[in-house]
Amino acid sequence: MNKSWFDKLQTLYFGEDDFRVREINCGLPLRAVCLDTMCDDAKVSNFVLQPLAYIKRAKTVYDVQSKIAVGTGVHKVPNFYAAVSDFTNGYTLVFDEYNGCIAIDTRTVTGRSVIEPPTSMVMRGPREGFVEDVKVNITLLRKRLKTPNFKTVNLTVGKYTNTAVCVCYIDGIAQKKIVNDIVQRIDAIKIDGVLDSSYLARYLDVHKTFVFRRVGVTEKPDIAVGKMLEGRVAVIVDGSPMVLTLPYLFVEDVQSPGDYYENSAMTTLSRVLRFVSVIASVLLPALYVCLQTYNYQIIPLRFLITVLNASEAIPFSPLTEMLLVLIVFDILREANLRMPSAVGISLSLVGAIVLGDAAVQAGLLGAPAVMIGALSGIGLFTLPDNTLILSLLRLIVTLVGGLMGLLGVTLSTLCVIIYLASMQDYKTPFLAPFAPDIPEDRQDAVTQISVPSMTERPHSVPNTNKKRRG
């Protein structure tokens, strides 16, 4: 004879201390089961046990479902797999003796409250940030999108973690084909567990490029909503405060959460600065090395004399010297990230002042090389999400520049640009609106026009409604 769902569940959780069973008679014998550690005791008592105590003549468990008038989250469980999923998520299951089962929402709310995200601080603008709870995160989006067009698709990923994933979009703006594509990709994921949204980001990167970030990440609901209003899709993963946004453009890296709350002229200036500093931070060490090694004639004479005086006693070649500076800088940055903030400040001081100064005083490194390395390092932090990849890139370009001179710098830069230009996910070219050139989208790329003048949604991102106020 087949085991009942209740028996199967009991077998699965045999020996677990937090497996709780209450037998109640409502005209027919019922069993209410829950995981104590995942459920809120008050909810179990108020939404399950108390109502059941008042029901007298139920014929099946579904009669009970229609008679429980308290609590909103009550649903019929279609199969045993769904029963286990609900049970592990904190629902209380009520079984009858005929394999009928309903699930009542008794999930406990544990987790941090909504605070300003530490990675996206702004001078002006909303300070709310996403948290680890998917339900709270959807609430944060719904608070800002009070429209029935805000749609969600709920999925579960991970064989063991059964992580809730929610795909959010605005119906009538986002292109349905892209939403379906994303849903299908998430649905097809075969993985043991999803511990953070970054796990999904790797699966949503169509070409599995890994080198450059191909999926947008934000910790701020206002940014997520802003992107959804442009036709993008947001993916919320339970247990992660980082919400993914797709499709993603390279130019989004240059944009900051506070950009839309400032004067557009100031925003343009900041973005241009970020853009220039990133290019300079990648190319500056390489140019310094190849100019010093091969094409020193390019450097103005007085400047050249200063550089030569500062580096004549250095026992390393310009390339080795610069690589040393860059690697030490990367090590310091890595150590700083993993240190408690109080110790981190001391580490920065030791690294920047003591180590740098000592190396120059000892004649191991030249002051210009340290200065160029530091300047380049600071530039990298204007795009904090891409510091690692940009750092790797500058090491490679410096190495090639040191070995081949200006030709090497030109070839390696061209190689990176061709690579970036070839990338296209979800019908969105990565380098849009510059390559391909989409003139309409230059209004909010590196330069930005004022918000009232932005009457159209971006053409780079596929959407079904181009008019922002239509």
């Binding site: 091969y294 004639q297 390019i298 004479l301 007085r302 200006l406 640009i417 230009a421 070839s422 391909p436």
Partner: protein, 367 residues
């Protein structure tokens, strides 16, 4: 995503870079050697033929917009497959030779101008690697790269030209036509190997996306590129006069005029490096087209990149290691002028007819 799809704008910008990319290296001194200060007239005539052929080629593109037949479909259905194979073989030789000669000029540029002497293999290998990589990423990526870098390259050319332009005495170009008009026209034919940069368009015929305009952007690019080339050549011969044939690399010599003194540093070298990107893009485009020729010759449509074919094509960049490029160029001009003229000048004129015939045949087959 169609990796070989390009818009009319991208096509135009790329065409401009291809015109400006290779003609400021050794060509001005070669032409100055041939016809003296009338070399700019040779360029005018060459661009005149190019403009006529380009108009016909664009007409063929217009006819082909909806049918999206590739060059192999068109030639196979109009002039038969054996003739098509012969034409692709000629194309292959042209592309490989042009890439090799450009690379050889780049090598000279780096060793002479930048004082960076290295051996050919070390120099050519990164170019080959980049071309190999670009073949894998598709023509669309190359077109987008051109679009992205167009402004920077155009700016570098202007920066290199502004200073010498102010010091040029254009009276040095008088009397006009001193070399004789017959000689000028003849030279424009004998040096035709350096022109007809539009031939890369044959290999993206099926991927050109025409939304509004085609003639306007392409011809604007053509006229801008042609005007810039003629101007630079005129400046070069006017500045250096009888010495012009002795200066192998026009751009590097002209660049000297853009710097005031050593105290300011040779900033023109940086702009020269930026301009060199257009030469590199030109090499990449030619290598890509050579790869496409192999695809068409073998009647294959490589859905995925055929790495053997790509490796073979990029390996042809090593030819100057074994052959003297100047000697090669002379041999080419001696033996290849007529076959090359067939694909450079005769084929574009016939392309609208061939395209119409091919479309009719294909449609008839489906009916």
């Amino acid at each position: 995503m169609d990796k070989n799809r390009v818009s009319a704008d991208q096509l135009a910008l790329m065409y401009f870079l291809l015109i400006a990319g290779g003609k400021f290296l050794t060509l001005p001194s070669i032409l100055a050697g041939d016809v003296g200060h009338d070399s700019w007239l040779v360029l005018c005539f060459s661009f005149l033929w190019d403009g006529i052929c380009l108009a016909f080629l664009l007409w063929a593109i217009k006819i082909n917009v909806n049918a999206r037949l590739d060059i192999a479909d068109i030639l196979n259905n109009s002039v038969s497959r054996p003739v098509g194979i012969a034409l692709f073989a000629i194309f292959f030789v042209i592309f490989v030779l042009r890439a090799d000669i450009l690379l050889s000029s780049c090598f000279k540029m780096f060793s002479v101008t930048f004082d960076v002497s290295t051996n050919w293999i070390v120099f050519a290998l990164p170019f080959a690697a980049l071309a190999f990589f670009a073949i894998g990423r598709g023509f669309n990526a190359i077109a987008r790269t051109s679009q992205l870098l167009f402004g920077l390259i155009a700016l570098s050319v202007v920066a290199l030209l502004v200073s010498p332009l102010t010091q040029t005495d254009f009276a040095e170009l008088l009397p006009i036509g001193q070399a004789g008009w017959g000689t000028i026209v003849k030279t424009s034919f004998t040096r035709s190997f350096w022109f007809s940069d539009y031939i890369f368009i044959y290999f993206v015929l099926d991927g050109i996306k025409v939304k509004k305009h085609l003639y306007l952007p392409v011809f604007t690019a053509f006229f801008a590129g042609a005007a810039l080339t003629v101007l630079l050549n005129a400046v070069f011969v006017a500045l250096f006069g009888h010495l012009a044939p002795n200066f192998d690399l026009a751009m590097s010599k002209i660049g000297i005029f853009s710097v005031a003194s050593t105290a300011n540093g040779r900033w023109d070298w940086l702009t020269l490096s930026v301009w060199l990107i257009s030469v590199i893009i030109k090499i990449i485009v030619y290598i890509f087209c050579a790869y496409k020729c192999i695809e068409k010759i073998f009647g294959a449509n490589f859905v995925k990149i055929n790495w053997f074919a790509a490796a073979f094509v990029t390996a042809t960049l090593a030819v100057p290691l074994f052959v003297n490029t100047d000697g090669l160029l002379n041999t080419v001009i001696k033996w290849g002028l007529i076959p090359f003229a067939v694909v450079q000048y005769a084929l574009p004129l016939l392309m609208p007819l061939f395209t119409r015939t091919a479309i009719d045949k294909t449609e008839a087959r489906y009916e």
